[in-house]
Amino acid sequence: MNLSAETLEKIETTIPKYPEKRSAVMPLLHFVQSEQKYISNEAIEWIAEKLEIEPINVLEVVTFFPYYRQEKLGTVHVRVCRTLSCALMGAYKLGDELEKALDCKMGHTKEDGSVTLEYGECLAACGTGPVVLVDEDLYEKLNQTEAVGPMLEEIKKRAQAGAATE
């Protein structure tokens, strides 16, 4: 497994925080995915060995949770909340707009790997819907046109920066 020194250090300091090693499976998956953009079979085996469990014990967690991916996520991960409060405020119209503006099909990753665009469930920000989570940043009140522009710019900036480092 090729992991950065920083990720390896995070992994080493996290495991002993838990009374039982197996509990660290979620944080380890988070660390690996944030570096590699997905969870490979190699990663599953590596984590299993690290935590002294069987690979199936890791795989069952990976396949249960929507956040863990076995296929590479785009450089920028865009999640549009589609649950009731946001839907009432225009989440689906927003989804359409983003599909067009980013030239990316909803529920897919662009071929060049720059953007993943998806609908997601309630992001716990319903009072300011519709909302979108761009990587770790929340954008709110996106039924106001002037709010969408800056978000799109940021998405494009990150996508380009990602392409430059590849």
Binding site: R22, A24, F64, Y67, T83, L84, A87, C122
Partner: protein, 445 residues
Amino acid sequence: MAAVERKILLKHADEDYYSPSIDSYLEQGGYEGLKKALAEKPEDLREAVKDSGLRGRGGAGFSCGIKWSLVDRKSGKPIYLICNCDESEPGTFKDRQLVHKDPHQLIEGMMISAFANDVALAFIYIREEMPLGAKILEKAIEEARAKNLVGENILGSGYSCDIVVHRGAGAYICGEETGLIESMEGKRPYPRIKPPFFPAVLGLYQCPTIVNNVETLCNVVHVVNMGVEEYTKIGRHGNTGTRIWCVSGMVKNPGYYEIEPMTMKEFLYDVCGGPLPGRKFKGCIPGGGSMKILGAEETYTDREGKSFSFDEIIVDYDGIAAAGSMSGSSGMMILDDSTDIVEALANITAFYAHESCGQCTPCREGSLWTKKITARMCTGGARPQDVDLLYDMAGNIGGRTVCPMGYSTTWPVQSYIEKFRDEFDSKAQANECGMKSFDERLIEK
């Protein structure tokens, strides 16, 4: 006089002078409650929390003090405390405010609760979709550790306890306490059956475990600071303290509001500004997407047979229960006359179909079928008998599953149909109807 907010937990959160830093919290007298608590006997603190009447803010509204009293203290096993910050019930966004804007209030509440229950290790389970919240908490814990408020020998008291932040990965079921525990153990979050797996006896690693919501634990700080007598003056009997209500949907001023019990009319008009211009309220989902809807035109009858209107419903645990629903996670979603009720239900059933963990057949299959039928009612292809079919099917889910999530499919379906039957019939009979409130892709077929 217009009804107003009563800010206790959110007193400083949105003020210009305030930040999530420990200095900000200390300036406002933070961690005095912990100092006070460490000088007391743990059993006295537990008694005080019981006497305060504090009820859980996460969903069920169970007495916090009684929950603590059920912890098995004789087993000799370690006792764990887990703060539930999974906040994923549709319509709920109060824990987000508490964590992002005042993390030390939560940490103080956790340390007091941990000390009161002889807990040696505490966790915060925070949903994946709050990455910033997790960072803020990590930083706050480090700040508190540097000041000896978390960790070894806290403030020289001889008591030690650490807090670990654990991030979820996008599954609603991790909010259910036993699913959460399974997830903390590194497994799939399939809820455990009760009995025997009551967390107070057989929780994390089969040890006694307390699971409390963020807002509940923040309230503990104020119970200790104010004392039981002052605290119980807030709110009303059986509903002590304030509650933070999250209001979203078709209302003039959506947002989070910390209030004492008041009527629905006072709340929706004085506090939330009333309906949007030219609109009329149709109803409200009072405690997160799982709960039964309250119709705005409906007449309610309480247990004593007294009838009252929507406007007169008291916005607290018992008031909403008297109207036949539950205050749940206090996520209030407002619908108005522009909202198509069938489409709203189709949206909600799609959520629960997506989030069913799949362990129990009635919930796994039933939630998918409710999604399918409501979808075809909206997009065409429904049959006139679908309304009865849908209603009947929903009645066979809740109560037949390991965890209470079955009701999250049952309650919305039943209550929406009972209260707005006409709209369902006309959709099912029309067979082909355009979408009104949202549009086609709301419904993934």
